[in-house]
């Protein structure tokens, strides 16, 4: 499956959302309970909620933008574009962007959840897998932006590390 630059934006947005928010939930919940099922339930609930809000959010935002573009084109053409190829392509873009955003979010959520689903149950493994995924996302980001791959990976991993440190600090405060 190939994505254009517009969809690539939603792959990155959704993946970062799903990956880091779910990792945050897992790190937070694993402090109070070492039970696999509780961590999986909390993480999975978060993953579903994120996927739905990201997907619906994109649907609503893209509908607004695409409708605005369509009206602008209609004004230039002095005609309505209802039931034309232009309108059908616009609707397809809205649905594709919403599915890409929501889908990327859900799939990325499964990465930190995977060790808990498989019964390994380790926050360290979740963090490690998340950082590996951020490296892959950095490479993808560098590829679509035609920028330096190393810089792109560094930015992505730096962001992830910052969030992990913040969540860990909150955990320490909670434990104290």
């Amino acid at each position: 499956m190939s994505f254009n630059i517009e969809e690539g934006r939603y792959v990155i947005l959704g993946s970062i959302d799903g990956l880091l928010a779910t990792l945050g939930i897992i790190l937070g919940v694993s402090v109070v309970s070492a039970s696999n099922s509780i961590v999986v339930s909390a993480g999975f609930g978060g993953a579903i909620a994120l996927a739905l809000t990201n997907g619906l959010g994109s649907y609503l935002a893209e509908s607004t933008i695409e409708h605005g573009k369509l009206v602008k084109t209609e004004k230039s053409l002095l005609r309505k574009l209802n039931n034309t190829y232009v309108e059908s392509q616009s609707k397809k873009r809205i649905v594709k962007d919403a599915l890409t955003h929501g889908g990327a979010s859900f799939l990325a959520s499964l990465v930190p959840l995977a060790p808990w689903i498989l019964g390994v149950g380790s926050a360290f493994v979740s963090v490690f897998l998340s950082l590996i995924t951020l490296v892959a996302l950095g490479v993808y980001s560098g590829h679509i932006s035609k920028q330096n791959y190393i810089m792109s990976v560094a930015k992505m991993v730096g962001l992830g590390t910052l969030i992990i440190i913040t969540v860990e600090l909150l955990r320490i405060v909670h434990l104290v």
Partner: protein
């Protein structure tokens, strides 16, 4: 009614679908032998193109419908050749002046 052999249309269309897609869609119509699409003007939202369609029996309504389905508008029909053979425009003294 004699058969239309060539149509030259002045069309205003959005940037999407592309000119390649529009020319290809018209070229796929029945009784169309060939299409020439030339870009004349590019605006922020639209493009002005000249579309020349040739064939043994070009159906104008179908061509117009195809253009409109693709989001375009036929501004004017600039040239029509109908009948048994292609008759080109003759230059007159008025044109030379």
């Amino acid at each position: 009614m004699s058969q239309i052999k060539r149509l030259v249309l002045d069309v205003l269309k959005p940037h999407e679908p592309t000119n390649v897609e529009v020319a290809s869609a018209i070229g796929d119509l029945q009784d169309v032998d060939g299409v020439n699409l030339s870009l004349y003007e590019v605006d922020q939202q639209t493009e002005n193109v000249k579309i020349t369609v040739e064939g043994p029996n070009v159906n104008y309504d179908l061509v117009q419908q195809t253009i409109e389905n693709l989001g375009g508008v036929v501004h004017s029909v600039d040239e029509i050749i109908a009948g048994k053979k292609l008759v080109e425009e003759e230059e007159t003294l008025h044109d030379r002046g």
